[in-house]
Amino acid sequence: MMPVEPGALAVEPRSITQPPEQLRYARWLEWGTRFGLALLIVVFLAYGVGLVEPHVPHSRLPEVWNLPVSQFLVATGLPDGWGWLRHAHRGDIANLIGIGLLAGASVLALLALVPLYLRQGNRLYAGLCVAEVAVLLLAASGLLTAGH
């Protein structure tokens, strides 16, 4: 493929290729997002139409969704942190799996970049990816706490 000069006009978009790490990140992010969204929709439909019994009955939601989260947890008996996993068989709580996949999609995409950057000898960006993953994992860990 012929190189395209800067500022050239009538350029075919496909003639410009983006860096390989950018394309790899796009691919991983796309699949992670698709999977997370598909799971979220399926699980929510099962919950919404009552196929799977929820922890908080539908009819009780209007009593609790106007409470601050600390009072909501007391009123519903739900734990904070990763305690929700114990209730993941319930229709409403199962939705958090899809939400977790969406919030974690970037972690897998970032980890997929590390070997590529290291092969290129780009330790700086490999380190940035690892640091970003560490930040996301710290946020996900539930170690940081605050509340009303």
Partner: protein, 312 residues
């Protein structure tokens, strides 16, 4: 489509947007079915998704002030849902933008690292402060966004004569083909250190209010750092996908993500955004933008008055 017809279509969209909000503003009728509010929320988010694209703002920016102001849900859950709305939209758009060079991974990574770390602090702060304080601050921020939208200038291709040392070290440059002109555009950035500091502050706001932060990311990338407007908008989405991921985990861990609020919002907004993207050519963006400024002005005033107890 003639301009007046496009404007009429835009007005209809905004009326549709206002209708669920108005309905929600009224006291809930006794004995109303439980699904009424989620259904209204889905409808409102669908319309917000349609207008957000032509207006050039993220759906999360509309979501938190409107839903927080006019729906009966506690602000904790609204912010949690707002983050997920912004996250899902950013994740869905990012792959295509990355492949086309309209989002730059190299530019996004250092900025997102600082912003996502500070967004955790913002999220913790937002969940620790009294709701009246957060609501008042939200009102002020939304009114600030209105002012920014009304007066801010944009530079499609800012002139960056020379990159600074930091941006050279981080290789913050790229190339894309402008779809409108089919011109090859090579870009680089400057004022990288200032940009990094600004993104620290943007992360706090994104985590604290759950409103996404495209309204702040784009001017910072475009006007401050000198990235082309399209690259700024695309990279902003990529930064948001990382920042909102870390803040969203804080809300999940605190129990502030209620699926019956979050999931209809995400689905409604994403379906609306697909239609909004198709209407981009037929709707006049500036008309929609002015109307969205009006809606945000109202929602910002509502949040301010709710937070101060004037209009509880």
């Amino acid at each position: 489509m003639p301009r007046h017809r496009a404007a009429a279509a835009a007005a209809c969209l905004l009326t549709l947007l206002a209708a669920p909000a108005q309905a929600a503003a009224a006291a809930a009728p006794a004995g109303a079915p439980w699904w009424l509010w989620p259904a209204l929320l889905f409808a409102a988010c669908f319309v917000m998704g349609i207008v957000a694209v032509p207006a050039g703002i993220g759906g999360g920016t509309l979501f938190v002030p409107i839903v927080g102001g006019f729906f009966p849900f506690h602000l904790d859950f609204v912010r949690g849902a707002g983050l997920l709305v912004a996250l899902a939209s950013a994740l869905a758009a990012a792959p295509m933008l990355l492949r086309g060079g309209l989002a730059s991974l190299r530019l996004a990574l250092p900025l997102a690292l600082l912003a996502s770390a500070s967004s955790i602090g913002g999220a913790l702060l937002g969940l620790a402060l009294p709701v009246s304080v957060v609501q008042t601050a939200l009102g002020l921020i939304v009114l600030g966004i209105v002012a920014l939208m009304a007066v801010s200038k944009k530079s499609e291709f800012p002139v960056v004569t020379a990159p600074d040392r930091l941006s050279t070290a981080l290789a913050l440059h790229g190339v894309f083909v402008d779809g409108a002109t089919r011109r090859r555009v090579d870009w680089q950035v400057h004022r990288s250190a200032t940009g990094l500091v600004v993104f620290l502050g943007i992360g706090v706001l994104a985590g604290m209010f759950g409103i996404g932060a495209g309204w702040a990311n784009v001017p910072a990338l475009n006007l401050l750092m000198g990235a082309p407007l399209k690259v700024s908008a695309g990279t902003s989405g990529l930064v948001l996908s990382l920042v909102d991921s870390s803040a969203a985990w804080v809300y999940v861990n605190k129990g502030a993500v209620l699926p019956m609020i979050a999931v209809p919002s995400v689905i409604g907004m994403m379906l609306g955004a697909k239609i909004g993207a198709r209407l981009l050519d037929v709707l006049k963006g500036s008309v929609i933008r002015r109307m969205v400024i009006g809606v945000l002005l109202f929602a910002g005033m509502r949040a301010l008055l709710k937070g101060t107890g004037v209009w509880p």
